[in-house]
Subunit: 131 residues, 2 copies
């Protein structure tokens, strides 16, 4: 069980565009900007079952999320872990929830909602300069 | 040969803390905040020969750099490529150069200068929302 300091929790509570790394089937790396939500134990993302990251994670479940404080580059967290679970979200409700968290309340569910999934990331380790 | 649009070049010219993904020897992914400089063809980083990313790249040269405009999350670039070359930098001069680029002119060379290297990343592909 990973424990988090108060400053790590404070950083992870903020609606920062984070960087999610995954590994492609040809063993090359990819990094994408992602909305996220941390519930104190796992990190959740909205994604679709038709896109690259989803396919990557079927082959290699490794995930790394880097969250950098835009106001202070020495305050960052690197979360290492892996895909724990995929939850179907065919109404896009988690996308709508994250859109609100990221400053767009009341946004309609996206057109690709039928394919929407929630990626649940298990955290094995936290690194970074955050105290 | 990858070609870059003017808006991609403008984004990559800025001293943004970027996210560099590499793959560890156990086939898990890691993402770190990095200073970088793009010269129009390759991306250069300052690093040391004693640290994790260096060892990762000896085993798997794949690199992915994600550069996100802090003022507009829809403006980002994902550069996919690999380690092209390692250049020794025993005086830390490239660290000093990047420190100046990132707002700290006149910084003294770091204590770990004897181990400093310049990682040169070859770019194979550019993706992202940048026009």
């Amino acid at each position: 069980m990973v424990t988090f300091t108060d400053s790590q929790k404070a950083l992870l509570a903020r609606p920062i565009y984070a960087s999610l790394g995954t590994i492609r089937p040809d063993n090359t790396v990819t990094v994408n900007p992602m909305w996220f939500e941390f519930d104190g134990e796992v990190v959740k993302f909205t994604h679709t079952s038709t896109r690259g990251k989803y396919r990557n994670l079927q082959q290699n479940p490794s995930m790394c999320l880097m969250v950098l404080d835009p106001d202070n580059p020495f305050n960052y967290a690197e979360l290492r872990g892996s895909l724990k679970e995929v939850v179907e979200d065919p109404t896009g409700s988690f996308w709508v929830h994250l859109a609100e968290r990221y400053g767009n309340p009341g946004a309609p569910a996206p057109d690709d909602s039928p394919d929407r999934v929630i990626l649940v990331m298990q955290i094995d380790r936290i690194l970074g300069f955050t105290g």
